[in-house]
């Protein structure tokens, strides 16, 4: 009688064969002393392995698990938010909205006051278009504007007096008596 394969005997002795294989193996083992001895060896090995007793959980194990579950419950909403597809865009979108709002507020507020810078009349006035011949008052208007816009200083006055083109428009100067002019000077 040929002995069964040892691996097959192991499967038989541990219930890892189908009904037909089990029937055949049982019949063979009943007849074959060597295979029966092998099956008994497997059984003895199982009995020895049973001597290794399992470790017991510590008394506070359940408490630890419940505490871990409580922490899990508290942080659940954060995870739920993170799991949402749009959740990852929420923070950048909120930042962008805040930036736009800040820009709108800045545009509506008045600009800070600028320091006053005095501009000295420059020879630019020489190149300004000549007043129309028929409108002498036009020259006066432009001169009056210059005087109104620019605070005059003694130095400025001297420059204005040296400007012949401008003085030529003051018709009243020609009407003044020469003696008075000398006196004035």
């Amino acid at each position: 009688m040929n002995c069964m394969d040892r691996e097959h005997l192991f499967a038989f002795s541990h219930g890892m064969v189908d009904a037909q294989e089990e029937f055949a193996a049982r019949a063979h083992v009943a007849e074959c002393a060597r295979c029966r001895q092998a099956v008994e060896e497997f059984a003895r090995l199982d009995a020895v392995l049973d001597e290794w007793k399992p470790a017991e959980p510590s008394p506070w194990f359940d408490t630890r698990v419940r505490a871990a579950l409580a922490v899990e419950g508290e942080s659940g909403w954060r995870k739920a938010l993170g799991a949402m597809q749009w959740g990852r865009w929420l923070v950048p979108a909120a930042a962008a909205a805040l930036l736009v709002f800040a820009l709108m507020v800045m545009r509506q507020s008045p600009p800070p006051s600028q320091p006053v810078v005095h501009q000295i009349p420059s020879p630019v006035q020489k190149t300004s278009p000549a007043p129309e011949a028929g409108r002498p008052e036009a020259g006066r208007e432009s001169t009056a504007k210059v005087q109104a816009q620019v605070p005059s200083t003694p130095e400025d006055d001297l420059k204005v007096l040296e400007d012949y083109d401008m003085l030529a428009n003051f018709d009243i100067l020609s009407e003044l008596p020469r003696g008075e002019t000398r006196v004035a000077n």
Binding site: L45, L49, W52, A55
Partner: protein
């Protein structure tokens, strides 16, 4: 087909029933801690891993699909946690296995630097238990996981195939090689001698 009570409980947990989760915790606390303790050889780490396994079950409650037995799912989570913990753990030294078994990629056996039990743990173990534990611990990783699941957790080999992600015939082969290794290592105990 018998009704899988765990499966019913888990479906209730999925619907938000906290009491059903307590019932699952009560049913699986002891075997799960025992499974981890045998696999990682450290009681404190075993409890940490068991806690993590229960936490993962709870976190995944909404995604749970009753396609397989609850214990298949639970021990798949547990086995992955344990094997990752063993691989990540500092102080792991790889030394050649004595039996030269390389057919399942497990020709090396991890020898953890702190694998010795504490004095308190040592007092609780008999000399025979220490020998048996040493023999199981000397098995390659996959063989050890298969033996612990089959022998100590009383899980069917078809379920073990689902847990380890291998075929049923591979589980049979894995278990057979593991038992052959154990038979050699535990020869003195099998002959009936006292250590």
């Amino acid at each position: 087909m018998a009704i899988d009570h765990d499966l019913e409980l888990m479906l209730r947990v999925r619907q938000g029933d906290a009491e059903s989760f307590e019932a699952l915790l009560d049913r699986h606390r002891k075997p799960l801690v025992g499974f981890f303790a045998r696999l990682v050889r450290d009681q404190a780490l075993a409890e940490d891993l068991a806690q993590e396994a229960f936490l993962r079950v709870y976190q995944a409650r909404h995604r749970y699909q009753p396609e397989a037995k609850f214990t298949t799912w639970l021990y798949r989570i547990a086995t992955n946690l344990a094997l990752n913990a063993l691989r990540d753990r500092k102080g792991v030294q790889m030394v050649p296995a004595g039996d030269g078994d390389s057919s399942d990629g497990g020709s090396m056996v991890e020898q953890l630097s702190d694998s010795h039990p504490t004095a308190e743990q040592g007092m609780l173990l008999t000399e025979r238990e220490r020998t048996i534990r040493g023999a199981v611990e000397s098995l390659p990783e996959n063989q050890r996981a298969a033996v612990i699941l089959h022998k100590y957790q009383d899980i069917d080999y078809r379920q073990i195939a689902g847990i380890l992600g291998v075929s049923e015939s591979a589980v049979k082969s894995l278990l057979f090689r593991a038992y052959e290794n154990l038979r050699i290592r535990l020869e003195p105990l099998l002959r009936g001698g006292q250590l």
